[in-house]
């Protein structure tokens, strides 16, 4: 049996409708599980059905669902397509529910691949698919891993380490039962450790669900001396894009001058109040806040005036951001150049004229490049991978529940270990760690065995 796969098949950006496509033997069953009316298994093939998507009893979205039964479909498998109406966050939530209920996130080109393997499309198209798989895999793999940020990734790694120690202990009890000086993993011990792991997974889910790029977007801070053209640049960016509303917590919100979407990724533009050394207490509050904002930004745009020489203040700003992700935006490109760029990092330079609305697209392209957005094209893998990570974490929790039930039923520890191994694998696939021999290595490094 092939896995049932799912993907968002429309551009995610700010469009009104997103379509989620599910293909495979279990497509209809899985989608049916998360609908309100639960009638998809009975409807005629090639029909569109009105329904709601539910998480437990809560309505997530009002949707239209197309049901197409094998073999007259694109992949020749059962296909279900869900038309979602609730915007990015909702579509993402529906995707996550499908993943938790047994779908696997499709690899790049996988629908087309199935269409070909099942004899639906011809050879020329297939060649295209191979190229596609080739070019996209690297991007998506990097993204999947990058998406889990450093601190989360460390939490998951630590968690996996504590799980593998438990696994190795159980395994060694099984493989070397005669070694009585090796501590036996009892169900009581396992119970305690499992509760601990459960807590930590929940903690990570909380963090991930507030995952910045998904919910809040990328924070871009604009800095520069007064009158270099920060507000003109802001206006240029904002005018060019339809402004959208997001829910951002805390101080940043007050400072967000506007939010735009670059190819579907939310970008929050943050103006800083001007950063400089000061003894004035009132002003220093504002300055500290600005430094905070700058430090928390995902990208800093330092604005310089093409028509003036670099001064001490510019250099201080540059010094403050040197360890950050930054671009130097040289404004007033329409005026005579008096700026000495020889001491600046050439790879960071972008020339614009906010007045004439020139260079704005180039600037946006640079932002795209920095966040790897240009390679993603339409479907936002950033969203997908986050939904994937969350669904994997929630599946881990399901397995934890299975273990706890098993503990209550007094099941043998090696049965419970099956689910624990599953948790370990699920967590591993979030951060791209699936080294098979890991457990066996752990076994021999943790315990002293031999003849």
């Amino acid at each position: 049996m092939e896995d049932t796969i799912v993907a968002i098949s429309t551009a995610l950006g700010v469009g009104a409708i997103s379509i989620i496509r599910v293909s495979g033997d279990e497509a209809i069953d899985i989608v049916n599980k998360i609908t309100k009316f639960k009638k998809l298994d009975k409807v005629e093939t090639h029909t569109i059905n009105y329904d709601y998507i539910l998480e437990k009893d809560k309505v997530i979205d009002e949707v239209l669902i197309s049901v197409m039964r094998s073999p007259k479909t694109f992949t020749k498998e059962d296909i279900v397509e869900i038309n979602c109406h609730g915007g990015i966050a909702t579509t993402n939530k529906v995707l996550e529910l499908l993943l938790i209920n047994g779908c696997r996130l499709a690899q790049p080109g996988e629908f087309t691949k199935r269409a070909f393997l099942n004899g639906r499309i011809d050879l020329i198209e297939a060649e295209g698919v191979m190229d596609l798989i080739n070019s996209k895999t690297e991007v998506s793999r990097n993204l999947a891993i990058n998406q889990v940020n450093g601190s989360t990734s460390k939490l998951i790694k630590d968690l996996r380490q504590s799980i593998i120690e438990i696994l190795a202990n159980i395994e060694v009890n099984i493989d070397y039962p005669e070694y009585e000086d090796i501590e036996e993993m009892t169900t009581e011990m396992l119970g305690k450790k499992i509760s601990n792991i459960e807590e930590k997974i929940k903690e990570i889910i909380n963090k991930s669900e507030n995952g910045k790029i998904v919910k809040e977007g990328i924070n871009v801070a604009l800095i520069g001396r007064p009158n270099v053209g920060k507000s003109s640049l802001l206006n240029c960016l904002l005018e060019a894009e339809k402004a959208i509303v997001t829910d951002i917590a805390g101080t940043t919100r007050d400072c967000v001058e506007g939010t735009i979407s670059i190819d579907g990724i939310i970008v929050n533009l943050i103006d800083t109040a001007g950063i400089r050394e000061t003894n004035d207490i009132v002003e220093s509050i504002g300055v500290n806040k600005s430094i905070d904002l700058m430090n928390n930004a995902d990208l800093v745009l330092l604005l310089l005036n093409n028509n003036e020489e670099i001064n001490k203040e510019d250099l201080e700003l540059l010094n403050k951001i040197k360890n950050k992700n930054y671009l130097i935006v040289i404004n007033k490109n329409d005026l005579e150049s008096k700026l000495d760029i020889s001491k600046l990092d050439e790879s960071k330079l972008v020339y614009i004229s906010a007045l004439n609305n020139e260079g704005i697209d180039q600037l946006k392209n640079r932002i795209k490049q920095i966040f790897n957005l240009d390679k993603i094209e339409t479907s936002d893998l950033t969203y997908l991978t986050n939904a994937r990570a969350i669904s994997l974490l929630k599946q881990s929790l399901n397995s934890i529940t299975d273990i706890k039930n098993g503990l209550n039923d007094n099941l043998p520890i090696d049965m419970l270990e099956i689910d624990l191994k599953n948790v370990w694998n699920l967590l591993g696939s979030i951060i791209g760690d699936t080294y098979e021999e890991e457990l066996i290595d752990q076994l021999f490094s943790q315990f002293c065995l031999g003849k």
């Binding site: 049996m1 092939e2 896995d3 690899q107 080109g109 996988e110 691949k113 070909f116 393997l117 050879l123 297939a126 698919v129 191979m130 190229d131 798989i133 080739n134 895999t137 395994e171 009890n173 099984i174 493989d175 070397y176 039962p177 005669e178 070694y179 009585e180 000086d181 039923d409 007094n410 099941l411 043998p412 520890i413 090696d414 049965m415 099956i418 098979e436 457990l439 066996i440 076994l443 021999f444 002293c448 065995l449 031999g450 003849k451």
Partner: protein
């Protein structure tokens, strides 16, 4: 003389291989260095153990000899992990080192179509890329259609003790000095491995009052599905447990540089097994451990050597004396045989197919330690599979490839040929993804059918299997058909189980942890008469149904991938989109199915997608 099959080597792999071929009516020659050393156990005096004990049952289910011979040679037997789950139970026996080889030799001698010859083989006869015979050290050519190499540790073997290196086999026999060089000449990649064995102590020099006694089980067990127990519970020979002392550790640390492995010899290239470190390794690596467990295991009823399990070392003899005398009860021990390490040549196992035929030379099969494994059971099962597949090839039939969800044997062979080895490979339960399916108790249900198909299981054994299957299904159906009513709730109350409403059947009830089949019998809810064997299967399948279903679902994905075959002549360089590492790995391993390809390290899912599309395009228009 001309044979259909020549088996080179008379260890556990060689015996099984020769028996399988001969029993399948192929004229077979077994060549061994010394007939008296056939099927000896040069290391520990035990057969079975975790995972390994299940392999012995699998060998028996397929029609091999190890389980039956072990049953005739028991000194003691135990069911390991009895208190744990059914998936990890396994038998481990102390086997008599005299009786086991004797019984095996007897069996070989009475098997028709099988000849045994004493000789050292130094080369192969190759024609057109096919092996057609072997050449002995005396230059004698022996012709055959198939050759199976089961040379164990005898390829250029060196015995290492302290700073001495001696070219000989474990019993002081002559090794084969040129065969591995010749294999290299034919294109094989040869690796050097190492293993070790501890001291043998004179029994009457040990003060057993200072040890802890370890008995065998007080219920009967057999490895073979066809045997009745051939021992008496009360006559089992116990083992004894002792621990190393602070003095032992001091002696070892003070003399560390004299150990072959720690500077005594500077020309050691062999890679030793991680799971069998020497005592000096253990003390160096686990500094904080105050003591290490050692077992005193009897080797035989016919002589008085006690095997000192856990004390393997390559220290010089005088240090070994001090070490042994530092142990409780062994203060005055007499060492009959010193511990040693042995280095030997093996072939890198990705050069063989899953049928155990080599990729480089047609009709040449290899099995056992030559393939980089360690352990009698690992060797025996490969010997059996090589014998079966060599015979099938002679009969122009497809090889028998056991899948990872069907047998530990399948896991072992697939690991070897797909992943290669870093150190001598030992089976562990953790290597099996579907160990809940690969149980000790169901080896016959999993594999006897195959044994029957290849002709190593006879009609009588087969009928017995069919009856067992029928009774299992029958009992399950009966339990499903008996419905309880609330009037039975007084019984449930007595059993401390939640009361039920109408329509609850006994099958469902048995899923409850507090309910067992015997309790149903005791409370007259049923009055069936089935053997323990049937009850065990049924109860297990009911109690763990959820887990078994999960495992079966996972396994069905594997089977699906295993059924997607890759043509043997595929040229990976022609697949333009394939990553270069994948091209190289796939060309080297030459997997036979997509399922196998996925398990190759360095081949990622995108490569698999591209490969599937290419296969469809080129071979399946």
């Amino acid at each position: 003389m001309e044979y259909e099959v020549i088996v080179v080597g008379g260890g556990h792999a060689g015996c099984e291989a020769a028996l399988a071929c001969a029993n399948k009516n192929h004229k077979t020659l077994l060549v061994t260095g010394r007939i008296n050393n056939i099927a000896t156990m040069p290391c520990n005096p035990s057969i079975g153990g975790s995972a390994k004990g299940i392999v012995v049952r699998e060998i028996d289910a397929l029609g091999g000899a190890m389980g039956k011979i072990a049953d005739q040679s028991l000194l003691q037997i135990k069911m390991l992990n009895y208190a744990k789950g059914p998936a990890v139970r396994a038998l481990r026996a102390q086997a008599d080192k005299i009786t086991y080889p004797q019984q095996m030799l007897k069996l070989l001698n009475k098997t028709p179509n099988l000849t045994i010859k004493e000789a050292i083989i130094e080369d192969l006869i190759i024609e057109d890329g096919k092996v057609v015979g072997v050449i002995t050290e005396n230059g004698e050519n022996i012709i055959s259609k198939i050759v199976i190499l089961t040379t164990g540790t005898y390829l250029k073997s060196d015995i290492l003790i302290g700073d001495t290196r001696t070219r000989e086999g474990p019993h002081g026999e002559k090794p084969s000095n040129y065969l591995s060089d010749n294999l290299k000449k034919y294109g094989f990649k040869i690796i050097r491995l190492k293993t070790g064995t501890p001291q043998r102590i004179a029994k009457d020099s040990i003060d057993f009052s200072k040890t802890q006694i370890e008995y065998g089980d007080s219920v009967y067990h057999t490895f073979s599905f066809d045997n009745n127990p051939q021992y008496k519970i009360e006559e089992q020979i116990p083992c004894h447990l002792i621990y190393t002392t602070p003095l032992t550790h001091k002696i070892i640390l003070d003399n560390l540089n004299k150990s072959s492995m720690y500077g005594g010899l500077d020309d050691i290239t062999g890679v030793g097994p991680r799971y069998c470190p020497s005592i000096e390794d253990k003390i160096v690596r686990f500094k904080d451990k105050e003591r290490h467990q050692l077992f005193l295991e009897p080797e035989s009823l016919y002589y008085d050597d006690i095997y000192l399990q856990g004390f393997s070392t390559s220290m010089p003899l005088d240090v070994q004396e001090q070490m042994v005398h530092s142990l409780p009860g062994l203060e005055h021990a007499v060492i009959n045989k010193y511990a040693y390490a042995i280095e030997y040549d093996a072939i890198y196992p990705t050069q063989i197919k899953r049928s155990l035929e080599t990729k480089i030379i047609e009709n040449l099969y290899t099995a056992g330690q030559i393939n980089g494994t360690s352990g009698y059971e690992e060797a025996a099962c490969q010997g059996l599979m090589a014998g079966i597949n060599a015979s099938l090839k002679l009969e122009n039939k497809e090889p028998l490839i056991l899948k990872r969800n069907e047998a530990y044997i399948g896991v072992l062979i697939d690991d070897l040929v797909t992943k290669g080895v870093r150190d001598p490979y030992r089976l562990l339960t953790s290597r099996a993804e579907y160990r809940l399916l690969l149980r000790h108790d169901n080896a016959d249900l999993r594999l006897r059918e195959y044994g029957y198909q290849v002709g190593l299981i006879d009609d009588e054994q087969y009928q017995k299997l069919q009856l067992k299957k029928k009774q299992i299904n029958e009992l399950i159906e009966k339990l499903k058909s008996i419905k309880l009513t609330p009037s039975n709730n007084n019984i449930l109350e007595k059993l401390q189980s939640t009361p039920i409403k109408d329509g609850y059947n006994l099958y469902e009830l048995l899923k409850r942890p507090e309910i067992t089949y015997n309790k149903l019998l005791d409370n007259n809810l049923i009055d069936f008469d089935y053997s323990d064997e049937i009850i065990e299967q049924v109860e297990l399948n009911i109690k763990y149904e959820g887990y078994i279903n999960k495992a079966n679902k996972e396994a069905s994905k594997l089977i699906n991938l295993e059924n997607k075959l890759i043509p043997p002549n595929i040229d990976y360089n022609k697949i333009v989109n394939l990553a270069s590492e994948a091209k190289q790995k796939l060309s080297e391993i030459r997997p036979t199915s997509i399922g196998q390809a996925i398990r190759i390290s360095g081949v990622n899912p995108a490569d698999i997608s591209i490969l599937s599309i290419y296969l469809k395009k080129e071979y399946n228009k």
